[in-house]
């Protein structure tokens, strides 16, 4: 039947009179829903990228914080670096310079922070190998050899962030499913209105020997093509709106990264055919139900 819809039947199309209200409703509903789907899809894809980025950035780095009296700080830092160099699974370890530590604190304390005169702990940035290291074992060794060291392997940050990004992605897909269901419901309402308005047409067609499949096809094809056209317009507008969003920037964080990248731009192009499939199924069900009720 999908092939028949695609191929078309000029005579069958003319059998059902054009109905302005249901045509406009279907076009508007499909267009609006496609527009929203583009944004839900962008949200979902951006959440996926965010989760990936957070995972990548945090998964393979750790921080060692050394809190010790000023006169012991350098010695404990050196001991910690030696220990880290010999720890399997650690690719590199580097003590942050005063300038780097000042830069980290600057957002909270301003640019003139006298780092030298404050008891600020020394931070060591650790990069892991792909295999990673045994954090429990490293903690035990640090406890024995560098008593002021506290290891932060970012697990407690990474997990909730990844979980939040995963939820956002799920939210995007749920929104797409809901939009699809709403589109189906609205097209069903429009199809029901059109079928009810054309009860006389159906009666004439039956009188002259039209089979229900012929009558249903005339309605289904019309609504499927309307939904396809409306969704195409909505998708183009949605993609245009996404293009107008600010480009992804580090300062902007997540919000400016809402959009498509690379082959991801092809995904919204699936929305119009999917809307047509939804309309095809919804109108087909509505037509079958109405025709059986009119029997």
């Amino acid at each position: 039947m999908i092939a028949t819809v695609a191929a078309g039947d000029a005579q069958a199309d003319r059998v059902v009179p054009p109905t302005g209200f249901t045509a406009r409703l279907t076009l508007f509903a499909a267009g609006t829903m496609a527009f929203l789907t583009v944004f839900a899809l962008a949200l979902s894809l951006a959440s996926g990228r965010l989760a990936q980025r957070w995972g990548d950035e945090l998964a393979q780095s750790s921080t060692l914080r050394i809190s010790a009296p000023a006169e012991q700080l350098d010695a404990q830092t050196a001991a910690a670096l030696r220990l880290l160099e010999t720890t399997p699974g650690i690719a590199s370890a580097r003590a942050l310079s005063d300038k780097e530590q000042r830069a980290l604190l600057e957002p909270w304390f301003g640019p003139d922070l006298p780092v030298d005169s404050l008891p600020i702990p020394q931070l060591i940035e650790i990069r892991e190998t792909d295999d990673g290291y045994d954090s429990a074992g490293l903690r035990l060794r640090l406890q024995a050899e560098v008593p002021g060291a506290v290891l932060d392997d970012h697990t407690r940050w990474r997990k909730p962030l990844e979980r939040a990004a995963g939820r956002l992605r799920l939210l995007g897909w749920v929104a797409i499913a809901l939009i699809g269901a709403t589109t189906g419901a609205m097209i069903t309402l429009a199809a029901n209105a059109a079928l009810a308005a054309n009860a006389q047409v159906i009666s004439v067609l039956r009188l002259i020997g039209a089979q229900d499949s012929y009558i249903a096809r005339a309605f289904v094809r019309r609504f499927t093509l309307r939904a396809l056209a409306g969704a195409a317009i909505g998708t183009v507008m949605g993609m245009g709106a996404i293009l107008l969003l600010p480009a992804a920037q580090d300062e902007g964080g997540f919000l400016t990264g809402l959009g498509f990248t690379g082959a991801g731009w092809a995904l919204p192009l699936m929305i119009p055919p999917l809307a047509a499939v939804v309309a095809y199924a919804a109108t087909g069900a509505a037509a079958r139900r109405t025709l059986s009720e009119l029997a």
Partner: protein
Amino acid sequence: MIELENIAYNYGGGELLSEISLKLAPGSFHFLTGPSGSGKTTFLKLCYGALIPTAGSVQLFGQDVRQMDRDGHALARRRIGVVHQDCQFLDHLPVADNVALPLTVSGRDSLEQVSNLKELLNWVGLGHRASALPPELSGGERQRAALARAVIMSPEVVLADEPTGNVDWEMSQRLLQLLVELNRMGKTILIATHDLNLIRTAKHHVQARVLRISNRKLQLAGADL
């Protein structure tokens, strides 16, 4: 062809038709008469399967209407041309398309059939009105267009419900002549009408059997016709 056996039909809580049996033989010509509200239209609807009898059986071309699915009904209706009293057209389509509708829905709208369509429209005197819309037609033109639509598939049976109800005497004679011609082509004709003058005129041209619905029963009409 069409066979009704001891049928009854209830409507509005009462029995409208009762103990009716009739067999429409191929090539026969029948008139169905009776007072308004006696059940003539209901009887015709029972004859083409639009209504299912409350009791008894209706056979269309050897099949019981109760055993037929909707596709079966549709296929049977292609073998029965129906002219409704109110004609029932698709008002957004020109007359030619309305007349050709049975061909369209059955997938038989070939070039040859389109040529036949022109001949048919000329036969019913509507060749010059082919592109007019149904609301633009007069009562007589609508009846003739409905008759053309009913016969375009070359059905074996033509059922006409008050085909001359909305037309003047001259036009009713013309419509009757068309139906008589169809009968001479071998079609079975059943006309429901309360116009006794039409029946008297027809009897000069064709061997017609006149039936009357009276007190819910179908009777052979008497010599007063």
